[in-house]
Amino acid sequence: MKNVVMALAAVAGLAATGAQAQNYPTRPITMIVPFAAGGPTDVIARIVGDHMSRTLGQQIVVENVAGAGGTTGITRAAQSQPDGYTIMMGHMGTHGAAPALYPNLKYDPAKDFAPIGVAAGTPIVIVAKKDFPANDLKGFLEYLKTNGDKVNMAHAGVGSVSHSTGIFFNSVVKVKPTMVAYRGTGPALNDLMGNTVDFMTDQIVNVAPQIQGNNIKAFAIATPERSPVLPNVPTTKEAGLDGYEVSAWNAVFAPKGTPPDVVKKLNDALVKSLEDENTKKRLLDLGGVLPSATERTPEGLQKLVESEVARWTPVLKAAGATAE
């Protein structure tokens, strides 16, 4: 019954917000999530934002501004007042792949932001349909090479994580499967389970339940270490594939020009939330990977963005993938 009362209180807006603070923040902070509510980035933003709100004493209101692979929301956030009251959850796509995918991009991931810190990454897993005629990564790669474009690779649309990481996979392994586009991960997974398409690469949070349920098979996880969520799935390195380590990282940014002390406060709150046991557990349950100590700093995030742009641009340009 207590929960009903709590929900009622939330509905009735009785949840009083602290109003005493003399300095930042004195009013709710808007966190722009450039994807629809319910996706992995949104979930991470809400989990981390929830704890940050408590540290900052002001609510972080998540605003979903979806569109154009996340660039619509990030463009808007980049152009908002740099006062710390508008921040955003950027990710691998918006701050790594976007410059290659969108030639008319209105922001520069490395220059137009005040980085706060990485929130969490979700590793990429290479998965295939249950009946796929190979049982490990080695056999899988051989099959790909001999069968060429007879193999169908699913992805969740141009600009999605599964698309970028899929192209990256093809360029590392030097194969050219037939690409089949879906609108989102759900339908792609459905057809993978229905044996209509052969394989895809996607974020662990999307595919883990299906792997555990034995509906699809996983060949490798593209991280340096195995994930506790999928302890039986080898890393790409263990399975004999070098050079394919990729995870869809999510990080908090503020617009360029945000005062340093505000950035510091936000960073402190972020780091604190990542140290919180409950937040940690919720992120790990998703299959998420917590950022390293350097990645939690603004400088570390800045470096990450620069290296990611450098990594994705040639790969995607070579594959001729643009979204405009």
Binding site: G13, T17, G18, A19, Q20, V61
Partner: protein
């Protein structure tokens, strides 16, 4: 469309056009088809094996165009409905109200054109009052009353109760209130002032005209 049947029998037209409505409809469809074909002119049609982005739109446009031509031809052959009378007042004010809302709800810029974000506080009344003039029966007093009662209701519902990230008022407004007031307090106070203004306006002008009691009453429950 039921509307078409509401008038008296269509007057018979003299001249070659026997169904003006079909003629206009046909021309509209052909124009639409032409526009779509022009817009997709640079896109690749592809093959069945790998359909390009232009294949479906192009074939659809051709289909639309053919339907248009059929309508056009039929309009010379068979009797049909005349064109209805048009009034511009409705569409102009309705669209005006919508655009006014869009431009004022948050800062908006398109090229060199930019507007300040005034929030629901201004966008709401603007839409109601401007939109209200779409009919010639508009009465300013009633519209102002409606605006003053509906806007605070929406502000409280969306901004306060539901915590939606909809801009409620310009940031400058916070300066008018004591510095230690939270955003929510300012919101509630503003809504209160507006509602009070609505009541005062209602009471002071009620003798002049029968008051639209149920408007203010029902607005609170939508």
């Amino acid at each position: 469309m039921s509307v078409l049947h509401e008038g008296p029998e269509p007057p018979r037209h003299h001249g070659p056009v026997r169904a003006p409505q079909s003629l206009a409809g046909g021309i509209l469809l052909i124009a639409l088809a032409a526009l779509a074909l022009w817009l997709t002119r640079d896109l690749d049609q592809g093959t069945l094996n790998a359909m390009g982005p232009a294949m479906l739109p192009r074939w659809l446009a051709i289909g639309v165009g053919l339907s248009g031509i059929a309508l056009l031809v039929l309009s010379f052959m068979k009797d049909g409905d005349p064109l209805e009378r048009w009034s511009l007042r409705g569409p102009v004010f309705v669209i005006g109200a919508i655009v006014a809302f869009a431009l004022t709800i948050r800062p908006f810029s398109f090229g060199s054109f930019a507007t300040p974000g005034l929030g629901l506080l201004f966008a709401g009344p603007l839409a109601i009052i401007l939109g209200g003039y779409a009919t010639n029966e508009a009465r300013l007093r009633d519209l102002v009353l409606l605006a003053l009662s509906l806007t605070p209701f929406c502000m409280v519902l969306f901004g306060d109760l539901l915590n939606l990230p909809i801009p409620v008022f310009p940031q400058a407004l916070t300066g008018l209130f004591p510095a230690d007031w939270s955003q929510k307090a300012v919101l509630r106070a503003t809504a209160g002032i507006m509602a009070a203004a609505a009541v005062i306006l209602f009471l002071t002008t009620r003798n002049r005209r029968p008051a639209p009691v149920d408007v203010a009453d029902h607005s609170g429950r939508i």
